[in-house]
């Protein structure tokens, strides 16, 4: 296993996710793997150039969309569990791009996250949060999906639509282009960081450390600069990135991951300048830097910064649909929580599991008996 490179898959989930992946894929570097999944056949037709397409939940929606229903989305994903497992097998890092607030994306994302975790893949979710003008219901759905997602995903990058759109009167095409470009920079930048061996190597385990402790929410910023004072310009551009502009995320972050890519003319002083300009001031901050040299970047500089919003013990499902910090040895506690879920209806006593069936769930529900009303 030591010799095989780590496999990273970028998965577009649901309408928004598929569209974004369809935009990113043509301009992506070689060797990057993409996949799209939706229950709507029409969406999948628009990304015909992506080879790896999965139509989920044929039996549930018959190729139609989930109709904005979370539950339908979840059932679709659960229905095509076999396909998802095949898709995830051998993947080390799963980057999912998903637009929350709809049906399939919001419903399926937690299922995929859980399955990825079971398959041993780290998960990084780029979630697109809907505009506030899309209504409180959509916003509420996005938030409840986010909450479910936090249980299983290793990290979630939230990208409110309102932040990544340009100001003023722009054409719709431009807006969409801009938002997917922002996403693409992040996804591709991160991929490049992990896929290439650098001088200061930013490897997979550093990312995983970050993912485990970042309380499932993080922000990212990326920028490229050229010219004489390129390091200074880069730092400025990083701070001006729409996702973090105007906030103190970078200053307050308890953990950051900095990836720098430069050409043959990269100087040590420039690296120093970038790290000093970006790194938070706190002494207890966890900083990991990676530097990669790429001849095609000669004359320019590129950096990506992944900043954790909070630094906590990894959270685990407490069996009541909520979350709790894993105490001490997180793996153990998590396992115990999974093996011995408590039942709420019976005073918190242990659930009655009989040959894999939860007998505490009403018999008529499990056996799908329709109650005469």
């Amino acid at each position: 296993m030591a010799d095989s490179p780590k496999r990273i898959l970028v998965l577009g989930l649901g309408g928004a996710g598929c569209n974004t992946v369809a935009r990113i894929a043509p301009g992506a570097p070689d060797g990057m793997e993409f996949a799209v999944m939706d229950c709507d056949v029409q969406t999948l037709q628009t990304c015909a150039h992506i080879e790896n397409r999965t139509a989920s939940g044929k039996a549930v929606t018959d190729g139609m969309s989930a109709g904005g229903d979370l539950d339908t989305g979840r059932r679709c994903a659960e229905n095509s569990a076999g396909q998802i497992e095949t898709l995830l097998s051998g993947i080390d890092l799963l980057m999912v791009i998903v637009g929350l607030g709809g049906g399939f994306g919001s419903g399926a994302a937690p299922v995929i996250a859980r399955m990825a975790r079971n398959a041993g893949a780290a998960t990084l979710f780029f979630t697109i949060i809907p505009f506030s003008f899309e209504g409180t219901v959509t916003q509420g759905k996005a938030h409840s999906a986010l909450r479910r997602l936090r249980t299983y995903a290793d990290a979630i990058v939230q990208m409110p639509n309102a932040l990544i759109q340009p100001d003023g009167d722009k054409l719709l095409a431009d807006s969409l282009d801009r938002s997917s470009r922002t996403l693409a920079e992040g996804v591709v930048g991160l991929w490049r960081m992990l896929a290439q061996t650098g001088i200061y190597n930013l490897d997979f385990s550093s990312l995983q450390t970050m993912l485990n402790y970042c309380d499932a929410t993080c922000r990212f910023t990326c920028a490229t600069a050229k010219g004489k004072n390129r390091a200074g310009a880069l730092v400025e551009a990083l701070h001006a990135h729409p996702l973090i502009a105007g906030t103190a995320v970078l200053e307050k972050a308890p953990g950051v991951l900095i990836g720098i890519t430069g050409g043959d003319d990269l100087k040590l002083s420039e690296i120093q300048q970038i790290i000093e300009g970006v790194a938070p001031s706190g002494e207890t901050c966890w900083i990991k830097t990676g530097v990669t040299m790429d001849p095609s970047f000669t004359g320019g500089l590129s950096a990506i910064v992944l900043a954790a919003e909070a630094w906590k013990e990894p959270l685990v499902d407490d069996g009541h649909g909520g979350l709790k910090p894993a105490s001490g040895e997180d793996k153990q506690a998590e396992l115990a929580g999974v093996l011995k879920p408590r039942s709420r209806a019976f005073g918190g006593s242990e659930r009655t599991i009989w040959k894999g069936e939860d007998l505490d769930v009403p018999a008529y529900i499990r056996r799908k008996i329709k109650l005469p009303r």
Binding site: A345, F346, G347, S349, A363, Y364, R367, P372
Partner: protein
């Protein structure tokens, strides 16, 4: 010498029952006192709130003492219904030696005792505790079905043991509760086994019978064949589950659901009365409603049929399907549910009846016999243990028995 007074305590999920009684010389059971209290802090037969449960146990014991006008005395026998009891069939044996220590010889009393002792030593995981080791038939040189091998010539003597085991923490917490009462817990017996002792006479035990104790939080079952216990176990599914199902199916609170289950519940769906309605009285600011009886019965039927089916599967796995000639005996609070015997009859394809405690005075066996089967049987079990002429057992043996439990059945 008068028969000693035995106190049996059953800590159930719905009620805590205390029975004080004695077994007379003619094997008749005389109940001297009954105590009962609503159980709290117990779910699925296991303690979830120690203080609440302790209070309820104390109150039940006090009621029984007042009722019998006697003190509960030294020893209390406990029936453990929870703890996810399971049974395990295991055989152990010894080579039989003659007086020159050569293989092959006459089986002596010592050989029999030795074989029983070896067979009892069944390894268990640390989190399980043995409740009973019930002796099966002997096997002499590979020939089975031998009741008493003493005096036979053989090279090898084997004996089967049915080990009934429960979860250690569940049983030990019950015992700890007794210490806090304070009372001495002499022994703990499996609830299903106790129920069987109360309702089964020798005849159905020989013919083959199953006793199913439908409790509030657990369903215990014991299967007899050829006079011996062949299978025992406990499912952590009970009357509470029916109530919870009704809660979710009809959108009622727990108390309403419980009342509805008791008043109008039925385990079978009456196809002729599909239009029958049940009115649910107004409560807590909500106006009253009308529900269809069929809906309620469908919910209960689904749960009960499943529970019986799971037990039937266990019986089938053990190869005892055809052996239930005497039928199914239902005990416990759940046996009061309408139509439950009819449903069991359908599922098990065997005659089914509500079990009645035999040879009892001092309690209305017709009205309360099924509900009190477990503590009644526990008194019988305790009396049986006491009759085992303790003076014949060596000190070490008695100690072993204390740990491993009795072997009669």
């Amino acid at each position: 010498m008068p028969a000693p007074l035995i106190t049996a305590l059953e800590i159930g999920t719905t009620t805590i029952k205390v029975l004080m009684g004695e077994v007379r010389e003619d094997a008749g059971l005389m109940v001297a006192g009954i105590g009962e209290s609503e159980s709290r802090g117990v779910h699925k037969g296991e303690i979830v709130d120690f203080e609440l449960a302790l209070e309820a146990v104390r109150s039940a014991l006090e009621t029984a003492e007042a009722n019998a006008r006697r003190s509960i005395g030294e020893s209390v026998y406990l029936t453990a219904s929870g703890g996810r009891a399971e049974s395990l069939l295991h055989a152990g044996g010894i080579p039989v030696l003659n007086e020159y220590e050569e293989p092959g010889g006459e089986i002596t009393r010592e050989d029999v005792d030795h074989a029983l002792e070896v067979a009892r030593k069944i390894p268990l995981p640390d989190d399980r505790i043995r409740l009973h080791t019930l002796q099966q038939h002997f096997e002499v040189d590979g020939r089975g079905g031998i009741v008493n091998p003493e005096g036979m010539l053989a090279e090898e003597l084997r004996v089967g043991m049915l080990l009934v085991h429960g979860r250690r923490s569940a049983v030990e917490n019950l015992k700890k509760l007794m210490q806090s009462v304070p009372a001495t817990c002499t022994d703990a017996a499996f609830g299903g086994f106790c129920s069987a002792l109360a309702v089964l006479t020798l005849e159905p035990k020989r013919a083959g019978a199953a006793v199913i104790d439908l409790g509030g939080g657990t369903t215990d079952y014991v299967v007899y064949s050829g006079g011996l216990v062949k299978l025992a176990g406990s499912l952590a599914v009970g009357g509470d589950h029916i109530t919870a199902d009704i809660c979710s199916g009809l959108n009622l609170n727990r108390r309403q659901a419980e009342a509805l289950k008791k008043e109008s519940g039925s385990a079978i769906i009456n196809r002729l009365a599909t239009e029958q309605n049940i009115s649910i009285p107004a409560e807590g600011g909500f106006s009253g409603r009308v529900a269809r009886a069929t809906t309620l019965h469908t919910i209960i039927n689904a749960r009960m049929e499943e529970t019986f089916r799971l037990i039937a599967d266990q019986i089938e796995e053990s190869g005892l399907t055809g052996a239930l000639n005497a039928g199914i005996f239902l005990t416990g609070g759940g046996s009061a549910l309408e139509g439950v015997t009819d449903l069991a009859q359908q599922v098990f394809n065997a005659p089914c009846t509500v079990g009645r405690a035999h040879d009892c005075v001092g309690i209305s066996t017709k009205k309360e016999g099924a509900r009190f089967a477990a503590p009644l049987g526990c008194i019988r079990y305790a009396a049986g243990r006491m009759q085992k002429k303790p003076e014949q057992l060596s000190v070490g043996r008695r100690w072993l028995r204390k740990i491993w439990g009795g072997s009669h059945g």
